[in-house]
Assembly symmetry: C2
Homo-oligomer: 343 residues x 2
DNA sequence: TTGTAAGCGTTATCAC
DNA sequence: GTGATAACGCTTACAA
């Protein structure tokens, strides 16, 4: 079924039918109704290829997701999809490998799909620096800040990673902990770096020296790596009474590793994660964490992008605070234990 | 950059350039190299809209995923994407709501995107019955069987749900359990029904009467629902010594609920899940489960679909066994406990 | 208010 | 082997 056939069927010309279908003015109400009725009757759909070829763009929003099995991004995507009504701007979702260059991929997809705008779920600063210049579409980076990225068309929405990490360390310190191990990421990851900085800031404020050689492990964002990280820390000699992992999946792996090593959480070692995944509410013990506000991140991301697309407003960089959830995996330092642990 | 400009640049005609770019014969080696070099130089990409408009189809494979935050489907998608090399057939992934009609959505997307074939990750039998007739493309349904669906163009790849559930019940019975509660889904879900049937078969074989009114709870596939299900069961009076949940997320919620109720897993109650999610390896206790073989499911799905697309072979319906992983959350029945528990 | 027709970037069918 | 050219289904001046 093409617009031509529909035109023949209704007795109008293709131009008129097209105008009706695209809600253009200058069509009589009578014509509009007739065409719409006929279109409805045969559940007519415009050929997207022809339309986009003609218009030199599609009406889609491209979402480039870094890594595909990641509960946080899954939730975020769901929330974004709910926010950007599917009918208004269909989302084209593309997954790239955790280590891939998401920006490069976006450049390619832009040429191919000509979307209206781009949402990056995760992304590496270095990749933006080197490749984003090729992208001229309104874009928003979620979960990473683009504040210091010099682009006229890049917004960002991110949790306040640094503050949240400070809060985590503060909380542990308030509970009496002094030897806090950190399970982080490599410094190639912007998020890992930012979160690490937050930790260092807090340690400084509390005048607690931090020896990264001893108490920092850089691993990937996975259960298995959290597990391994604890094993590594323990192999260096157990001197910590608390562990802060910069993601919930790492934290969950860490808890399991501690327990496998005969340590109780939180009685022997406290653990705090980051993200606020659903699963954290059902682990044993429930995972203390900094919750990223998924709905707000998604909401702001959608609003900003649509504003940029529809009204061409200037890019914005927003930071959304995390919500602390001090659940069962943290507890006060037991002085008796420490003495033993430090031996 | 268009093919026309590329033609001008190389001195050949658009026809020749098109032939080179599409690996058609009847092009001299010299020409081929010259055009390819020029295309490479300006990283030329054919305009997909124009191409597809002309060809009346795209070269994409449509993937309709039911529910978007589901680790199993996430893993499956990743494995399928790895298997179907992105360059050969780009995947267009579309998420539909857990309760939505995935087939109806596919019909719409087919009109719009003209893909080569469709992969359904999850789907409801009833929806296929009512709407699949409108789809003429090779399709494969994953994680649900389409064996008894009367369609010439629908294959399916599924785990052996029934057998796996029998195995779960067998295992519990062998460990001495007789009162086994089941956390399942509503009978509107084909998978839930199949798994329930497997359980009943096993109970029959062991001559264990099963009172669904007392020991079956139908909930949704989520942590929260697994949690609630146990609370419901306990409210009916605790008479079971083991729980079989038909998904890992339910099982994890169930474990937490048991522990919150002062029961130990597996000492007081054994728990078995279904799916084999990564997280199950890191919970406390590690979750006993029936692992769906994600890589094989994905591999067969991809192979079958590509065979259907490229060679028009008849649809196949394959069943892949699950792998039992009897991890820490199951244990033998302690007769002393039972006496107490039954009181 | 409606109709006509050019042209978007390809591919495919011709003729050469 | 190669080059012209029609056609794919649509939007959008411009003409009526």
């Amino acid at each position: 079924m093409t617009i031509k056939e529909l035109a023949a069927q209704t007795g109008y010309s293709v131009g008129t039918v097209s105008r009706v279908l695209n809600n253009h003015p200058n069509v009589s109400e009578k014509t509009r109704r007739a065409v719409l009725a006929a279109a409805e009757a045969c559940s007519f759909q415009l050929n997207a290829n022809a339309k986009q070829l003609k218009q030199q763009r599609s009406n889609t929003i491209l979402v480039v997701v870094k890594g595909s099995s990641n509960e946080l991004f899954g939730n975020l995507l769901e929330a974004i999809q709910a926010k950007i009504s599917r009918t208004a701007y269909p989302l084209v979702v593309d997954y790239v490998d955790e280590d891939a260059n998401a920006v490069e991929r976006a450049v390619q997809l832009c040429r191919e799909k000509k979307p209206l705008g781009i949402i990056f779920l995760g992304g590496n600063r270095q990749n933006f620096l080197s490749d984003f210049v090729q992208i001229e579409l309104p874009s928003v980076l979620v979960t990473n800040s683009g504040l210091d990225l010099p682009f006229e068309n890049l917004s960002s929405v991110t949790s306040d990673d640094r503050k949240a990490c400070e809060a985590a360390i503060d909380h542990l310190v308030e509970l009496g902990h002094r030897r806090i191990a950190i399970i982080g990421g490599g410094m190639g990851s912007d998020i890992a770096r930012l979160r690490y900085e937050g930790c260092l800031l807090a340690f400084d404020r509390h005048h607690i020296p931090f020896d990264a050689q001893r108490d920092y492990v850089a691993v990937r964002f996975s259960y298995a790596d959290g597990y391994r990280a604890v094993k590594t820390l323990l192999a260096r000699g157990r001197q910590f009474t608390a562990v802060f992992a910069i993601s919930d999946v790492m934290a969950i792996g860490a808890v399991r590793a501690l327990q496998d090593s005969g340590l109780r959480v939180p009685e022997d070692v406290s653990v705090i994660g980051f993200d606020g995944l659903n699963i954290g509410e059902y682990t044993v013990p429930r995972l203390a964490t900094l919750c990223q506000r998924v709905d707000e991140l998604a909401g702001r991301c959608a609003d900003i992008l649509i504003d940029q697309i529809e009204h061409g407003v200037a890019p914005r960089h927003e930071t959304i605070p995390c919500t602390a959830a001090w659940k069962e995996s943290v507890g006060p330092l037991d002085p008796a234990k420490t003495a033993g642990g430090q031996d």
